[in-house]
């Protein structure tokens, strides 16, 4: 079973996404802040780290930079309310970000995209 870590400070969103992905057959852990998210990566190897952009203690971008600089072997995707341009997405792909999903999203869309990342 593929393991997913979702770092999201909005609990209701985090819980709902967890449920959606678990329904789709993934093992999901959630963190409500960046520090806890990083802590969890020390203990467990996740196949995918889903990151909210704006977190109370740090940004999702900071978490990505920290983990990728430590060569933490995982896929990364952002879940954010802020839309980005296709040019920006190209830049993200270059540095190792697999996808950028704009909120709100449908369950179908989310699951399909996660499936694609972990294929």
């Amino acid at each position: 079973m593929k393991k997913i870590l979702y770092v999201e400070d909005h609990r209701d969103t985090a819980e709902a996404v967890k449920q959606m992905l678990e329904d789709a057959g993934y093992e999901v852990e959630i963190s409500f802040c960046g520090a806890d998210g990083l802590e969890k990566t020390h203990k467990k190897q996740f196949d995918l780290v889903l990151l909210d952009v704006m977190l109370p203690d740090m940004s999702g971008w900071d978490i990505f930079k920290t983990l990728s600089s430590k060569k933490y072997d995982s896929k990364y995707a952002f879940l954010s309310v802020i839309p980005i341009s296709t040019e920006r997405m190209k830049e993200f792909k270059k540095v190792g970000i697999s996808d950028y999903i704009t909120k709100p999203f449908t369950k179908k869309d989310l699951v399909e995209r996660v499936k694609k990342i972990l294929k």
Partner: protein, 599 residues
């Protein structure tokens, strides 16, 4: 410089002449010494003869005679020797005389002798004849120095008085060397150098004069002076500062621009003794390190082409000025670095302008960041709960079948209002984004017919539901260069609205090409808009009351956004409507979007 060289050259010439004279004097002394030696020998012989004549002691006499004979022989030998030596000395003298004669005759300098008491010339070489423009030596010796001089010397002294002084000096000190303005006989003046030397020969005392025409040299000097003056004038008139340093960082030259720049006088700058605190009188101490580092680079780097640095100076009035300095090496003939030249260019104005722009840009950036931040925060704060509502709603809808009809209605109400809220949030954020100028257009080439067709295809589900016909009328292919996403949004809003407010009939989309723009009309057979409301229709949050509202939905922002998008793309939007019969929304867009159109 020239002056120095000239003096040095003349001095060398003089040394040579003095050296040769000493050599002749020494030879003379040698000859005199030998003569004395022969004289002593003679005196001895004469003494002995006298004693023999007096008849003193015969044996002694005989002995003495032998001695005398011996001595005679010695004297004879001595005599021979003396004669030999005399001949040698005479030969030497001849040689020396000959050499002197050659020197005298062929020297390019005018050489002459003049004798007291009236100090007329007593001889003159060919050059003297030539230089002074006299007929021959005979004519020359009828003249004196004053005859071959203008009335006055450049310093204003009468030539006769000054000549007398110079002669007196040479007579007293052995020689005198000076510059003199001579006069060609019956012709113009010329500058010369004169060396007067006192000569004592066989009781005669006279002066030998060597006159050198320095017209060419003076002209060269004058030319040099002129060109130096010209250069100095240029150097002093340019606004940039020119400085030249020796290898020990001593300032050796500065043009007058340095005074204008710093407010210090040249002597204040030159006389300033560098200390730990300040390298130069006008340097801003904060930039000492920078300048020292640059200096070290200048004297250590081989082949320093040009190197620049920017630093501040502090003027005498305590004003700070920015300088852009260029450095280069000064080399001597052997390519050895002998110094460094520096050019200062005042860049205060540029620096100030740069600072001002920098500040403005910073201010703008701050404002911009605040704007985007605010937009991002609002977007985040509004959309985050929406995300949670949507996600949880979706999860609930999965168990819809297990709910009672009443609960299903509750769930539908939740879904409807969530949609409404999301639509509203999206629209508000969109309009805020357009107004924040954060809006970036993505211009590409599009085919208008393709664009309309795909929108019509998407909206067909809605029109089919209401049994409304969707008609597209495009006379010919229209290729545009515009933002396809925004154009799609505009068309989508207008067509969607037309379908929403039409119950029966059709919605017609018509595109007409006009010169360099395109006219697009969206006509419906809907409820129409009262005339007095038409002007308010494009205002934000304006909605006409309609009994269909709850069903139709909308935020009152759709048309406001559409209008703004059309204007962003350089076009205009308007409508005509007849209540109960229908409306036509029409807009124009340039076929080719131009940046200046937006402004």
């Amino acid at each position: 410089m020239m002056e120095k060289i000239r003096k040095k050259l003349s001095a060398t010439g003089r040394e040579e002449i003095v050296g040769k004279r000493e050599h002749v004097a020494k030879r003379r002394e040698e000859i005199v010494g030998k003569r004395e030696h022969v004289a002593t020998g003679r005196e001895e012989i004469v003494g002995k003869r006298e004693r023999i004549k007096k008849g003193e002691n015969r044996e002694g006499i005989a002995l003495e005679r032998e001695e005398i004979v011996g001595k005679r022989e010695t004297v004879a030998t001595g005599r021979e020797e003396i004669v030999g030596k005399r001949e040698h000395v005479a030969k030497r003298r001849e040689e020396t005389d000959e050499r002197y004669k050659v020197l005298f005759t062929f020297s390019k300098d005018a050489i002459m002798t003049l004798e007291p008491p009236n100090w007329k010339f007593t001889s003159g070489n060919d050059s003297a004849i030539k230089i002074f423009n006299v007929k021959d030596e005979k004519e020359f010796i009828s003249l004196g120095p004053v005859d071959l001089s203008p009335e006055k010397q450049p310093d204003g002294q009468l030539s006769s008085i000054k000549a007398k002084k110079m002669i007196e000096k040479a007579m007293k000190e052995g020689s005198s060397f000076f510059e003199w303005t001579h006069m060609r006989y019956g012709d113009g003046d010329f500058p010369a150098t004169v060396l007067l030397s006192r000569v004592e020969e066989e009781g005669r005392i006279y002066l030998q004069a060597t006159v050198r025409d320095i017209t060419a040299q003076k002209r060269a000097e004058k030319d040099l002076e002129k060109s130096e003056e010209k250069l100095k004038m240029i150097a002093d008139n340019i606004s940039d500062v020119l400085l030249s340093y020796d290898m020990a960082h001593h300032l050796v030259y500065a043009n007058s621009a340095i005074e204008r720049l710093t407010g210090y006088t040249l002597s204040e700058i030159m006389d300033f003794k560098p200390n730990d605190n300040r390298l130069m009188i006008y340097i801003n101490p904060d930039d000492n390190k920078k300048i020292t580092a640059k200096w070290n680079e200048c004297i250590s780097k081989r082949d320093l082409k040009t190197s620049t640095s920017e630093f501040r100076i502090l003027t005498k009035n305590k004003e700070t000025k920015w300088i852009s300095a260029s450095y280069g090496s000064v080399y001597d003939e052997s390519k050895k670095q002998t110094g460094v030249y520096v050019v200062y260019h005042d860049i205060t104005q540029r620096k100030e302008a740069e600072e001002k722009i920098k500040k403005q840009v910073e201010q703008l950036k701050e404002l911009d960041i605040a704007k985007t931040d605010f937009m991002n925060i609002v977007s985040h704060e509004l959309k985050t709960p929406l995300t949670a509502i949507y996600a949880n709603l979706e999860l609930l809808e999965e168990i819809k079948t297990k709910l009672s009809e009443k609960n299903i209605n509750n769930l539908n109400a939740l879904r409807r209002n969530s949609n409404q809220l999301r639509f509203l949030v999206d629209n508000i954020l969109e309009i805020a984004r357009i107004q924040s100028n954060k809006f970036e257009l993505n211009i590409s080439k599009i085919d208008l017919e393709n664009c309309i067709s795909s929108i019509v295809n998407d909206l067909k589900i809605l029109s089919d539901k209401k049994n409304i016909k969707l008609i597209v009328e495009i006379d010919k292919p229209i290729n545009m260069s515009t933002d396809s996403i925004r154009l799609t949004e505009i068309l989508n809003n207008l067509i969607d609205n037309a379908i929403k407010f039409t119950e029966e009939g059709y919605v017609k989309i018509k595109a007409i090409k006009q010169d360099d723009s395109v006219l697009v009309e969206v006509t419906d057979t809907g409820i129409g808009i009262p005339e007095d409301k038409i002007s308010k229709l494009f205002e934000k949050f304006y909605q006409i009351y309609t009994p269909l509202k709850s069903e139709v939905g909308g935020t009152g922002l759709g048309l406001a956004i559409t209008k703004q998008l059309v204007e962003l793309l350089g076009g205009k939007i308007n409508l005509k409507s007849e209540l109960g019969k229908g409306s036509t929304f029409y807009f124009t867009l340039p076929i080719r979007y131009k940046e200046e159109v937006k402004k």
